[in-house]
Symmetry: C2
Amino acid sequence: MSDSQRIHITDVSPRDGLQNQAVHLSTEAKLQLIALLAEAGVQSVEATSFVSPKAVPQMADAGELVPRIAARWPQLRTSVLVPNLKGLERAHAAGAQEIAVVLSATETMNRKNINMGLEQALDVSEQTLAAAQALGLRTRAYVAVAFDCPFEGETPLAEVLRLAARMHAAGAGEVVVADTIGSASPGMVKERFAALRGVVPVDRLAVHLHDTRGMGAANAWAALEAGVRRFDASVGGIGGCPFAPGAAGNLATEDLVLLAERSGFATGLSLDGLLSAVDFAQAQLQRPLGGRSIAWLQRQRDKRREAEAMTA
Amino acid sequence: MSDSQRIHITDVSPRDGLQNQAVHLSTEAKLQLIALLAEAGVQSVEATSFVSPKAVPQMADAGELVPRIAARWPQLRTSVLVPNLKGLERAHAAGAQEIAVVLSATETMNRKNINMGLEQALDVSEQTLAAAQALGLRTRAYVAVAFDCPFEGETPLAEVLRLAARMHAAGAGEVVVADTIGSASPGMVKERFAALRGVVPVDRLAVHLHDTRGMGAANAWAALEAGVRRFDASVGGIGGCPFAPGAAGNLATEDLVLLAERSGFATGLSLDGLLSAVDFAQAQLQRPLGGRSIAWLQRQRDKRREAEAMTA
């Protein structure tokens, strides 16, 4: 297996997955979810965010969660979202080793999301990245709404390239290009990553996909073909807003692993392990979860269990 | 729009979609489904099969259906499956202008499916293709289980290439490479079509995908990238066995259209028109249908209708 056949998955279910859920998971339950992910072979998680507990009460336990993860899984790469220097301070105080900043690629999205204009948001992201590096932390920088913006329509590619280049120049360890509303097509992924490779070395590029239109797996394949080897995904596809009927969440980790492994890539993740995490998450969130492959994966597991029971 | 950006979709829902359904559609209902497909812009359908009515009672009205389609939609390209010379005779008597033969790529699949060995099935396919051409009919030839066989595991690529080349040499207008059990990955699609292009001109190659593992759209993208422009698909993804929980059917026509159009390809099909066909089919079959994009497509339609109602 050459290095080019190895892909790196950050499971973002504890953060992007849980941040919009009606049911709020306890710190204990989050640790159980992360335990199941670690057992499944996940080596990198996005664990939480240091944002206002008023705005995102689901993440209010960030300061408690981070040191408990570090104590229990010292080898697990654990990233946390920070909106600004104040968030960085809290994350650092909690012992975080890696932080992520989020920069939206349009004026309106930044105003709606963080009540700042784009240029101010860019400043804040650069300052936060610089301060984090000064503290010796690893960093990721999201470029959000990098395909379409819910307010402005298609995001100009030139703007995405400009911001990705700025995040790279600011020292971001990974520049994570995000299809925040799940509107990308594989043709767009192909085109945009071909251009992005010109401004950020491909081994520093990651892709963050949502599966709103059922194209998450196709977009992941287009990214793989473009040379991208770093992916965000969320076990069970957790992340859709439960109040929008049919709204799909993130690209499901199990879908990505199935697609990649069947296509000759190595992920290091166990599909059975991921199914156990899906079981747990849906029991906690009290709604059915799972990506597009879940029915097939569960049938395979059932068949194997039946066969084992017969020979037992 | 260059020719290379134009894709050709054969909607197989009236045949591959309906042949395994618990609810049997009347001839009138099938004509209504085809009417909706034609209204949606579909220019090619696989309408029925001339097989034993005992084995496949859902297709028992083939002899009545074909002339009624021809009378009502003289421009609609209408293909029918024929298992052998006897089926061809019946299809020809009914006025069929295009037939398809099905050759499975493994010994066991042929034995289970048509109680013949592979070499005998190859003979029958070649004879049927020759006879159909002598009658002036257009022809398609399926190479089934071209990725994996449910009985023999992965189908050797060399065997798929041999059979595809034989079907091409026998004059098949299209060689339809079929992922019959929906086990293909985009990596396999890429590899196999790169090789298939060496034995069949790419404009004579078509791909027939199932969505069992949620990789139908990703596989379609891999086929597009390999230069394939001819696709089978089934509106609403009809085609799964209703007795196998979670068993997915064919690649949904609406998923393929959404992916292709958003990626810069032209299909000539209307998503709204396809949604009407899904509505009709699920009312008839009394179960929810729709591909991976259906929830999003329906939400868009609902929003548009609400907006129209407000301005009305």
